[in-house]
């Protein structure tokens, strides 16, 4: 029996070691922090896994957190030794992260797909690039309404007394801000920067009919199971729940128009693997990744070249030209400064009026 010589074995060992070593040297392991739950589940399937298939040398781990504020907390705690490389979170929180020097100012030239990203929410440039657009919707229980509601005024409908759930506490801050702006417009005041008093008065009027200001586990579940009949929620999650509740939960972009919520992606300052992180960010902004996530979760793509099928488009209000025309303009850069002024009346006037 022929046995390989020691020289051959040694050469094979050295070659294997070199090859394995070069593989390790090229491989990058990055962590992306973002929303947990259905977002994480669908984002991993439609963006992270296809990315890793296309880039076998980069491993991406998705780290799910409760909300954008939690992401900010983690970034603050890890300022000197970041454990994540990129973060997907809300634009208004990204502004705070930028001012605190927690996120890197990525050169847009390093993200070829940046040029195709729509203008909405591009205020922070390469530091926080819009990755999903969503809108606030009116959500309702199909069996609670003989005729499907089409207006935000359904929240003020006396027939729904005690059946209104409003996520204004415990993490519903962005929704509370948007509803204040919408109520302000319903009360006749177009510019929330001038005053929010009419909107606050209108919400005070609504308060006695509210069942809970902090729906648990969330507003979608309470509306779907009939505990509440009407609420507000984001379109993407509403569509997801519509599919998972056999249509018991329905959502609508009301006739008065709605406001957008913008999620952005940022690279973390001082985090390693910047090149791999930028490669991932660029892929996340690509037409294919944007279209795939829109199909999976009904977020409007931010890449203008993303092609979305008709059935999906119909379920994303921002992709409907009529709804887009009626989009209520929210300046998220100034919301950071107005945040406390808008949220303060909720706990001091609006919620106490419903006790």
């Amino acid at each position: 029996m022929n046995r390989p010589s020691k020289k051959v074995l040694s050469a094979a060992f050295v070659a294997t070691t070199i090859l394995w070593g070069s593989q390790i040297a090229n491989a990058a392991d990055i962590t992306v922090m973002g929303y947990r739950g259905p977002f994480e589940e669908n984002y991993v399937k439609s963006v992270v896994e296809p990315f890793m298939k296309a880039h076998p040398d980069i491993k991406v781990t998705f780290y799910g957190v409760q909300n954008a504020a939690t992401s900010l907390g983690n970034m603050r705690a890890q300022r000197d030794a970041p454990q994540v490389n990129a973060v997907i979170y809300d634009l208004s929180v990204a502004k705070i992260a930028k001012e605190e020097g927690l996120i890197a100012d990525v050169d847009p030239a390093k993200l070829p797909n940046y040029a195709d990203v729509a203008d909405i929410g591009k205020d922070l440039g390469g530091a926080a690039v819009p990755i999903t657009y969503d809108t606030l919707s009116l959500i309702y229980n199909r069996d609670a309404f003989a005729t499907a509601p089409t207006s935000w005024e359904a929240l003020w409908d006396k027939a729904q007394d005690g059946k209104v759930a409003l996520p204004a506490q415990g993490g519903g801050d962005i929704q509370a801000i948007l509803l204040t702006i919408i109520a302000n417009r319903l009360a006749g005041e177009e510019n929330y920067k001038d005053t929010i008093d009419p909107g606050v008065d209108k919400l005070v009027e609504l308060a006695p009919r509210v069942q809970t200001w902090e729906p648990k586990p969330d507003a979608y579940t309470l509306v779907a199971n009939g505990t509440a009949s009407v609420s507000i929620g984001y379109n993407a999650r509403s569509q997801f729940y519509t599919d998972h509740t056999e249509g018991r939960l329905q959502s609508v972009g009301p006739v008065e128009g709605t406001a957008s919520q913008i999620n952005v992606i940022s690279a973390i300052e001082n985090a390693p693997e910047r090149e791999a992180t930028e490669t991932f960010m660029n892929y996340a902004l690509s037409p294919e990744a944007q279209a795939a996530f829109a199909r999976a979760m009904f977020y409007a793509p931010t890449n203008t070249k993303a092609e979305v099928d008709e059935a999906t488009r119909e379920r994303i209000p921002l992709m409907d030209p009529a709804q887009r025309d009626k989009l209520i303009d929210v300046d998220w850069m100034s919301i950071g400064d107005l945040r406390e002024d808008i949220l303060r009346p909720w706990r001091r006037q609006i919620i106490p009026a419903g006790r």
Partner: protein, 294 residues
Amino acid sequence: MSSVATAPSASPSWLRGIPLVVVLMLLPMAAINLIAFVLPVVRLAMISFIKSRSGGVLTDTYTLENYVDFFTDRFSFELISNSLVLGFGVTLVTLVCSYPIALFLHRVSPQWRNLLFVITVSPLLVSSVVRTYGWMVLLGDQGVINGILTSTGIIQTPIRLVNNLLGVYIGMVEVLIPYMALSLIAGFGRLDIVYEEAAASLGANGWTRFRRVILPLTMPGIALGCLLCFVLAISSFITPKLLGGGRVFLLATEIYDQAVIQLEWPSAAATSVIVLIIFGLALALYSRVAKRFD
């Protein structure tokens, strides 16, 4: 005769005379406390003095502003008052519910005592979050209680038992009963049936025996249970969050809102320090009460 090594004479006066082995044995626990408790509290106190810009952006400047803002805002006093009222209220109701249970357990024959004792504390085997969700199911508008009341015609429309202060009281009393019962039983050591018998032989009726004999002898247990429940009630966060429907504003929920919603970490840290001071005052009050009944 063996001699025991004590702390060196160069060591602080409060350590002198303590056997060296005791000092060495205490070191690991002292180190754990220092790292896991003292340092985080110091860090928390430091954050409470950081100045933040609008939107919660942290700066490198230190200020007293966060404390000034807290004490000049009327809403803060509402929070303190809500928390104290809830703390005292829940403690009182828990005491009233637990005292008969503890007294019964103290008097029951030893063969039953262990079993009944396990049953009393068995709710602690289930997470308080799970139990609170259970209360949400029971107390909701479409819950079991409203279902029974409406189906039997006692009420026409569901009564609101949850998403308000009543729901928080119900949930918290249920969560705290095992703690109160355990503390009461632990403090009932001096209660002996012979004292009651002696009082009865002197003509004391049931109420007098309870007021003049049982209550004073069980006071250490009552003080301990009340302190524990008050501290747990005032710092509780999950039950008010789940059962309060966003309507019940307390110091603990405010800290969460300031940190997680308003992103104002320095304000949240300042409020936390104030809660710690309230805990300190409660402990001081307890030690005075405990001394009186010793």
